[in-house]
């Protein structure tokens, strides 16, 4: 093929081939108007390569990002990893992710369903939900002082399970340890694995009435200075009674003890009692008289 040299540049020449192509070739000392046979054609940079992998690389980057998001964020946060069961009387099960996020909340019995009804656990973690549920249980009256909350964690990961149990218990104990019992393990009749019982001091003990049947059952004691067990005694027994606190009934049980040997019938305590119980002035006096009578009867 012959090529007609159309234009010369220092580094290349433009030639026209016989089919009408214009080509850039090596300028082997050509002059315009020359006809040449052998040419060394210019190699043009191939621009297709980057166009091929560029969108693909973007896609790969996107896929990598997605993987990162899935394995780094989504999976630990949104994949069920274990379950935490709270048994008060309401039985509630929380499905937890690895990062303690509550994924699901399920009531396992009717009370449990009632407990979680209307409760929004979205976006909360285990600590918040357990605390709020216990709070709710207290509000709804399922849980009162001295009762037991049992927590059971189950997961394939035993380390995680143990840690969760410990943390859940610690968190609850810190808040409610004074009033309720937190127990790990199922709330069955078997003795619990771990039980923490904090002695409960009831803030508002109700004064209990005198148990009537105890009077019939109890036999009068051999040495009767105290006439509480006497069938004739009409007042308090003194054992379940407290003289202190708001529930005190104002009757001190020291009076009967005082008159053991010298029953003169006048004690310091009784003076105070009389002052207080004006409406019933004869009460103590009667008892004292009874006491004396009893002692005399036994002596007889």
């Amino acid at each position: 093929m012959n090529y007609l040299v159309m234009e010369v540049h220092p580094a290349y020449a433009v030639v026209l081939d016989e089919e009408g192509r214009f080509l850039k070739v090596a300028n082997l000392r050509y002059q315009v108007g020359d006809t040449v046979q052998h040419i060394v054609e210019l190699r043009r940079p191939q621009k297709k390569r980057p166009a091929l992998w560029k969108p693909l690389s973007g896609l790969a980057g996107l896929a990598a990002c997605l993987c990162l998001v899935f394995f780094g964020y989504y999976q630990p946060n949104f994949t069920p990893y274990g379950a935490l069961r709270i048994q008060i009387n309401p039985d509630v099960e929380l499905t937890l992710s690895r990062t303690d996020r509550v994924l699901e909340l399920e009531g396992l019995n009717e009370d449990g369903q009632a407990l979680i009804e209307g409760y929004d656990y979205g976006g909360k973690d285990r600590e918040d939900v357990t605390e709020e549920l216990v709070e709710r249980a207290i509000d709804l009256g399922y849980l009162s002082d001295g009762e037991t909350v049992s927590i059971t964690v189950s997961s394939a990961d035993t380390d995680w399970q143990a840690r969760e149990e410990q943390e859940a218990r610690d968190a609850l104990e810190k808040r409610y340890g004074e009033t309720i019992v937190i127990q790990i393990g199922p709330a069955s009749k078997d003795p619990p694995v771990t039980e923490v019982v904090i002695p409960v001091t009831p803030p508002e003990p109700t004064p209990e009435p005198v148990p009537e049947p105890s009077q019939e059952q109890t036999v009068p004691p051999a040495v009767t200075n105290d006439t509480d067990y006497d069938p004739g005694s009409d007042v308090v027994t003194g054992y379940q009674d407290t003289d202190y606190g708001p529930g005190a009934d104002g009757i001190s049980n020291y009076a009967p003890f005082d008159d053991g040997s010298y029953s003169d019938g006048v004690t310091d305590y009784e003076d105070r009692d009389d002052d207080q119980a004006d409406d019933d002035p004869d009460d103590d006096d009667d008892r004292l008289e009874d006491d004396v009578d009893d002692a005399q009867n036994e002596d007889d």
Partner: protein, 246 residues
């Protein structure tokens, strides 16, 4: 003046699109190209290695076209390009390896002439010179006409279809235009390609024509009046052998 790599990169970037800037850059780095060539052929290019120097210059120009900032500093890149191109050149030359030089001494005598002297000179130098000046004049004319359209041969060569199918499509356009001398006349007069007529007449995709409009303009102009030599050169464009146009 100290030139930094940054300057070179800017120059190279300019030379990619501007052929004059490319020429200037190559002239400026002629020493570099020459030194790289000498490193490869281990002798001065003047001792019968002028072709290698030309190839090295072409390789430098290719490097200018292909250079990207991500490929590192330009000069090492160009040096590598020159080296690779020269290696390629030697490999292709080896194919016709059993060729003896025209400068081979005759008969081994010291004072004897070279092979070149013994070959009878069949070429008519006077006629050759005449035809070359004629074609030079015509090409010059053609080039001026292209310049009126704002084109240079470099532009046309850059715009020339390289894929066989595209080239065939352009050929169809040309064939169609040659059968309609009035279209060619209009191209010459207005300097615009009548895209619609050409597309509908030749059945070529309009977009393909748009992409290669510079090339199409040049090749259509070549088939307008004058340019006998160029048209004669394009002998392989067979159909409607030019005669209809005169």
């Amino acid at each position: 003046m100290v030139r930094t790599e940054h300057d070179i990169a800017a120059q190279v970037q300019a030379a990619k699109t501007d052929s004059e800037a490319a020429d200037a850059l190559i002239r400026q780095y002629m020493g570099f190209i020459r030194s790289e060539t000498v490193k490869f052929i281990h002798t001065a290019p003047e001792n019968g290695h002028e072709d290698e120097l030309s190839i090295a210059m072409l390789a430098f120009y290719e490097a200018v076209l292909a250079y990207e900032k991500s490929r590192g500093a330009f000069l090492p890149y160009a040096a590598r390009a020159i080296r690779n191109r020269l290696i390629d050149h030697y490999r292709t030359e080896k194919r016709h390896g059993n060729v003896i030089s025209l400068h081979t001494p005759l008969g081994g005598e010291e004072d004897g002439g070279e092979l070149l002297d013994a070959i009878p000179d069949a070429v008519d130098h006077v006629e050759d010179y005449a035809s070359r000046t004629a074609s030079q004049r015509e090409i010059q004319e053609f080039s001026e006409k292209l310049a009126r359209f704002g084109l240079t041969f470099s532009d046309v060569a850059d715009n020339c279809p390289r894929q066989e199918r595209t080239f065939a499509a352009c050929r169809r356009v040309l064939d169609f235009a040659r059968s309609r001398p009035e279209l060619l006349k209009r191209v010459e007069d207005t300097g615009k390609l009548p895209m619609n007529e050409l597309a509908s007449g030749s059945g070529t995709d309009r977009k393909t024509m748009e992409r290669h409009r510079k090339y199409l303009a040049a090749i259509l102009l070549a088939f307008t009046n004058g340019y006998e030599i160029i048209r004669g050169h394009l002998c392989q464009i067979a159909p409607a052998k030019g005669g209809s146009m005169k």
